[in-house]
């Protein structure tokens, strides 16, 4: 184990090179629906239990299954209404289990990126070959079912190894959602030296963290989203930032929650200088226009 993951250098928020998003937008805004499949009786990982209760843990399983049966369509209708294309953090086995969902996302030109095979299969304990096989399986599955190259990664159930980023970059990926250290994209060190970055995916705005971990009230979540946006929109005048709302059909789409979320979405998309986009578009734009300058600035400040 290491003291520091070694993935990025300290790089203070002030006095960075200016990011100018397309059309002069201040905030690159993206929404990341997690479309997940949890197994009722998954293979056992010795480092993490899948369910708190003995199999079948129908409460945990049913909670997640609700997202696919009920929540997904409700969320999609809401995003459609405000012209938001989702960037899907996908349990890629869902392509096999629920192709109807994949089809609806394809029709809307949503982005698909890897969130592992199942959200009940963890990276812990895997050899390098095993983790590579899991990553390649997900990348191939996304390509086979959607025609898309998988650009982004959010580790299944946020389970990582020391080489997760290295392996994903080698499999063709260009960005990770697993790091929560910044409000702007930042370069990430990978052993191949490829251009690979972190795109902010806010855990603080993540509905599961909000509802399950922090036990926030639905209307307060709406207020938090607006406050988060207001400050980023203000700061984005000087230097472009990213705002992400990660969602789950089994959390935000419940009937007592979706309205407050919708109001926040209406608020954000009602502002003129917002680039409503996807994770991949942010990453490609950043790598093309901002990456080299960022690396030079980080290097200079590190040397200073």
């Amino acid at each position: 184990m290491k003291e520091d993951p070694g993935l990025y250098d300290y790089w203070p928020y002030e006095n960075r090179p200016k990011i100018t998003w397309p059309n002069g937008a201040r905030v690159a805004f993206w929404v990341a629906p997690n479309i997940e499949f949890y197994e009722l009786d998954p293979a056992v990982n010795p480092h993490r239990k899948a369910w708190p209760r003995p199999v079948p843990d129908i409460s945990g399983y049913g909670t997640r299954d609700y997202g696919n049966r009920v929540g997904h369509m409700r969320m999609m209708r809401t995003l459609d209404k405000y012209g938001v294309r989702g960037s899907i953090s996908l349990s890629t086995a869902l392509c096999d289990h629920h192709p109807e969902i994949i089809q609806m996302c394809k029709e809307r030109d949503w982005e698909f990126f890897s969130h592992g095979i199942y959200n009940t299969r963890y990276t812990y304990g895997m050899s390098e070959d095993q983790e590579r096989a899991m990553i390649e399986d997900a990348v191939e599955t996304i390509h086979k079912h959607t025609g898309q190259d998988c650009s982004g990664y959010l580790a299944p159930a946020l389970t990582h190894s020391d080489i997760t980023m290295d392996l994903f970059a080698e499999a063709g990926g260009i960005y990770t959602c697993d790091l929560f250290h910044d409000d702007q994209p930042t370069p990430v060190h990978v052993r191949s030296g490829k251009k690979f970055i972190s795109v902010p995916y806010s855990l603080e705005m993540n509905d599961t963290i909000v509802y399950v971990v922090n036990k926030i009230e639905p209307r307060r979540y709406g207020e938090m989203i607006k406050a988060n946006f207001d400050r980023l929109y203000e700061e984005g005048k000087d230097n472009g930032v990213v705002m992400c709302i990660p969602l789950h059909g089994y959390q935000v789409s419940h009937p007592h929650r979706i309205k407050a979320f919708e109001e926040a979405l209406e608020y954000i998309t009602g502002h003129s200088d917002v680039w409503v986009t996807t994770g991949r578009e942010i990453a490609e734009y950043y790598i093309e226009n901002c990456y080299d300058e960022a690396v030079a600035d980080i290097t200079a400040k590190g040397a200073a």
């Binding site: 009786d41 293979a43 079948p56 129908i58 049913g62 009920v70 899991m134 009937p255 007592h256 407050a260």
Partner: protein
């Protein structure tokens, strides 16, 4: 370091679910459900009347809302008893005031202990469903099959004798099941169960003993979950239920009948400072003409007729 190679094998990775209990389907894709008299929303108010023994074993897991201190936990024992002695009567008044038809999920042991209460409910004509033996008698994966079979049988027998009703609905303590529970329920004449929370309408569930209806009783909208687990305020509870109702009522206008399943506990909402919020919620819901307040069994029957 490596995991067993089977960890990267996915035997159920194919169309539909990873088990054969029910078919995969999305709510929005189904044939719209029409409730009786053209109503838009079926209101199912499920009242859990629970018995939590003082000598809780907590095996293999402690019951939801059970004892927490060292023995004797008089604190939680009596807080839960409050619901069966006092809170329930406030709830009944609220239901009558707003002409709401409740369904009662009763621990069989409670029916043995408090026949007065059961007689009162039976005289009202309300439907009673089984809520297991008591809260410390869970159904769970790995449970001895004969032990569980006895538990199901004696729970239903006790409640049927105490109520004179056929008792065809079931809610497991802590909504926990073993892999055999659905079979045991069917074998014992149960027609619907409320433990699976993966949907907002009833759906068909397969067992080797024949089909049973799953009637999803929302946990997220439960009084205990919102105020006891999440520690949201009484006012927040009312706001959340009203928001849920408004959303489902509107959605029913576009997509066909919806069901609002409210799970409540007299030990929670029956407190003097909370009962007003139940009344506020019921007033809000029943102010709409398109609401059909019905027992769980009647909702299931209407759903079946609409298939």
């Amino acid at each position: 370091m490596a995991l067993d190679p089977s960890y990267l094998e996915y035997p159920h990775r194919s169309y539909g679910m990873d088990h054969d209990r029910y078919d995969w389907s999305m709510l929005a894709d189904r044939k719209p459900v029409a409730w009786p008299d053209g109503k838009r929303l079926a209101l199912w108010v499920n009242v859990s009347l629970q018995y939590f023994p003082l000598n809780q074993s907590g095996k293999p897991f402690a019951p939801v809302a059970g004892m927490t201190t060292a023995y004797p936990d008089l604190r939680h024992y009596t807080l839960r008893e409050y619901g069966n002695r006092v809170g329930i009567f406030r709830c009944l008044q609220a239901f009558d005031r707003y002409d709401v038809k409740p369904t009662f999920a009763v621990s069989a042991r409670l029916a043995e202990r408090y026949p007065y209460l059961i007689k009162k409910l039976v005289a009202r004509g309300d439907e009673i469903i089984a809520h297991g033996w008591h809260m410390d008698a869970p159904h769970f994966g790995g449970q001895d099959q004969a032990e569980e079979a006895t538990l199901v049988k004696k729970s239903l027998q006790t409640l049927r004798e105490a109520t004179g009703q056929p008792v065809t609905g079931w809610l497991s303590p802590s909504k926990s099941q073993s892999s055999n529970t659905p079979e045991l329920l069917v074998e014992n004449g149960v027609e619907y169960m409320c433990d699976w929370i993966n949907d907002e309408l009833p759906y068909n569930f397969r067992t080797s003993a024949g089909d049973i209806t799953a009637m999803p009783l929302s946990t997220e909208l439960e009084d205990r979950f919102i105020m006891h687990a999440n520690l949201h305020s009484e006012s927040e509870y009312a706001d959340q239920i009203k928001d849920a109702f408004d959303y489902l009522y509107a959605e029913a206008g576009d997509q066909g009948g919806r069901m609002l399943a409210l799970s409540i506990h007299p030990w929670m909402l029956g407190q003097p400072h909370r009962i007003g919020k139940l009344e506020e919620v019921l007033a809000h819901i029943t102010s709409q003409d398109g609401v059909w307040s019905a027992s769980a069994g009647d909702i299931r029957t209407a759903w079946q007729a609409a298939q």
